[in-house]
């Protein structure tokens, strides 16, 4: 590619300059694996030979997801908008029990966006694609006039194949509620860099497909606490599974520094977003196995609560509660009011 310092409008116009930047993007992003991408409008995956070999596998459910990312700032401690976009889509497939097989990458870039920043973001996507083995297989690149978008917006879509779907509605009385690691570091890292607040906290942004491929089959429910955080996840699981969840205040998965920032800014820690964690409901017979595996990926993985019978004494019906160290129960509602904007 010719040397350009900035993104120009005609890189999104569908002409020769579009072709040039797409070539450059594809070079940075690397192989498309088993997908055939001939520069047509889509990419082709040969289901018959690979995924549908019924003799050895029953990975016969197609899972499809999409997410747009409008992050501010676009570079932050622990990641950037590119990393969060590819991880977000890989994780949305992984928490459902699907093995991601391909990612679609659609970009809207502001005219004049620095080419160096653009390549940094593409490299960050390429790196996650390589380490996870999930190829970027199709895409689109549009450029809009200055002031019509804030720097860059990325939409990733993903397809995956699953043997069994992990739903949010499968939690059962007696299950343990676990977190795959400490929560809220993504939101705090973004907020801190937005306000130039000094902290050691980095975004927790990372792909979860490898750990979920190992433990997925042992989970009754699973969800990643992105927008809306733990409060949104647990309420969704409680609601769909028609059960009651009680989490223990002394086991809450928040680092001291994270709690300090939420207290400083008057934020609710339960609704802080993470981008590389999951919450799951696990039966007593599987809990040891699951934690042993997860601790290899993240030593912070732990039990944070339990699914209780909703008839239990002195407790309201369904929903999510936190048990304070003095034994009192406080309800955790699904986030209602204004949440931190542009966190993912």
């Amino acid at each position: 590619m010719e040397q350009y310092n900035n993104i120009t409008l005609d890189m999104g116009g569908g002409g020769a300059k579009s072709a040039e930047i797409i070539k450059e993007i594809r070079k940075i992003l690397g192989s498309t694996g088993k997908w055939k991408n001939t520069g047509d409008d889509g990419a082709v995956f040969p289901l018959n030979k690979d995924a549908m070999n019924r003799v050895s596998t029953e990975w016969d459910k197609l899972v499809f997801t999409t997410d747009s990312f409008i992050v501010d700032p676009i570079f932050f401690p622990g990641g950037d908008i590119g990393k969060i976009a590819i991880c977000g889509t890989i994780n949305d497939l992984a928490v459902m029990g699907a093995r991601p097989i391909g990612i679609g990458l659609s970009l809207v870039i502001e005219e004049g966006f620095p080419m160096d920043d653009f390549k940094k973001i593409m490299k960050s996507i390429g790196k996650i694609s390589k380490t996870t083995g999930v190829p970027i297989v199709t895409g689109d690149t549009k450029v809009t006039e200055k002031g019509k978008i804030d720097k860059i917006e990325i939409t990733t879509s993903g397809v995956g194949l699953a043997q069994n779907i992990i739903s949010n509605g499968g939690a059962k009385v007696g299950d343990y509620i676990i977190s795959s690691g400490d929560l809220g570091e993504h939101a705090v890292a973004l907020l801190a860099s937005r306000f130039n607040y000094k902290t050691k906290i980095k975004s927790d942004c990372k792909p979860l497909n490898k750990e979920l491929e190992k433990v997925g089959k042992f989970l009754n429910a699973c969800k990643d606490p992105t927008r809306g955080g733990l409060a949104a996840n647990l309420n969704e699981i409680a609601d769909k599974s028609k059960i009651k969840i009680i989490v223990d205040e002394k086991n809450l998965p928040y680092k001291k520094e994270v709690v300090a920032v939420t207290e400083l800014l008057g934020l609710d820690k339960f609704s802080l977003a993470s981008e590389g964690r999951f919450i799951a409901s696990v039966s007593p017979e599987n809990i040891k196995k699951v934690l042993t595996i997860l601790k290899k990926f993240n030593s912070e993985a732990k039990i944070i609560g339990r699914v209780e019978p909703s008839s239990a004494k002195a407790m309201a019906g369904k929903g999510v509660y936190v048990k304070t160290e003095l034994g009192a129960l406080r309800k955790i509602e699904a986030p209602k009011g204004k949440l931190i904007p542009r966190i993912c």
Copy 2:
């Protein structure tokens, strides 16, 4: 849903108001068909029962595509940003020979965007989804602060199943080049409404899956002339098929009003975008059959040129040429310079 006049930031925050607007969107968009969408992060398609019934079908290739739409204005004669987004993705799958099975819909909306306009756009998507039978199966909704995006940006992604892929590289010497209808009306309609120029031309935006399902198996190459128009399509086909295409000036697929606007504004008609047309390369043995079928969908469908041997006398090698009414040959290059921005 409670009555709101405008989109608010917390409709994209992942909390209760997000859930409300997603519910409203899903209500407008209608059924997800065979896809199971339980409000998890993705939608699930049961490949084993439906698509993979090998006894009756060999639709065993998975096709995946994605596109972002930043259209100005968002409402125009003949359509709106919603219609163009869903048609664009359905068409990207259809021109490859795939039967679209599901669409992902990812929205980024500016805070304060009028709720009535938003619902109008969703209804427009829902209508195409219903008439084509292609369900919206998964999605995402983000809201950004005022001034950080221009009104609304839509990214659609799509998955489809194909028996045989129609590539751009399959055109053969002797083939006829056809257009499924007159071209450039989408670009002219958008430009005209941008500049308040009075014209009867409406956008040609429409889904192509039904006509392509009927003729797809008879096409050697196929492409839809969106960004970059006929010039981009023919050059791509000529390039990938390693052939020479000659189109006839007297058969060019442009209405008089379209040509008039291009002359007025100094635009190249060959690079005008359409959003409901395709260009194809068809063998002599199939040409009659294909045109008979296509004329039922659009009486303007016609032969516009021919694939010629590149050794033909008095002609340069590969590439795309227009033969003037006086018999001279002029090369049509792939669009290079600045194209009309935000046309799709």
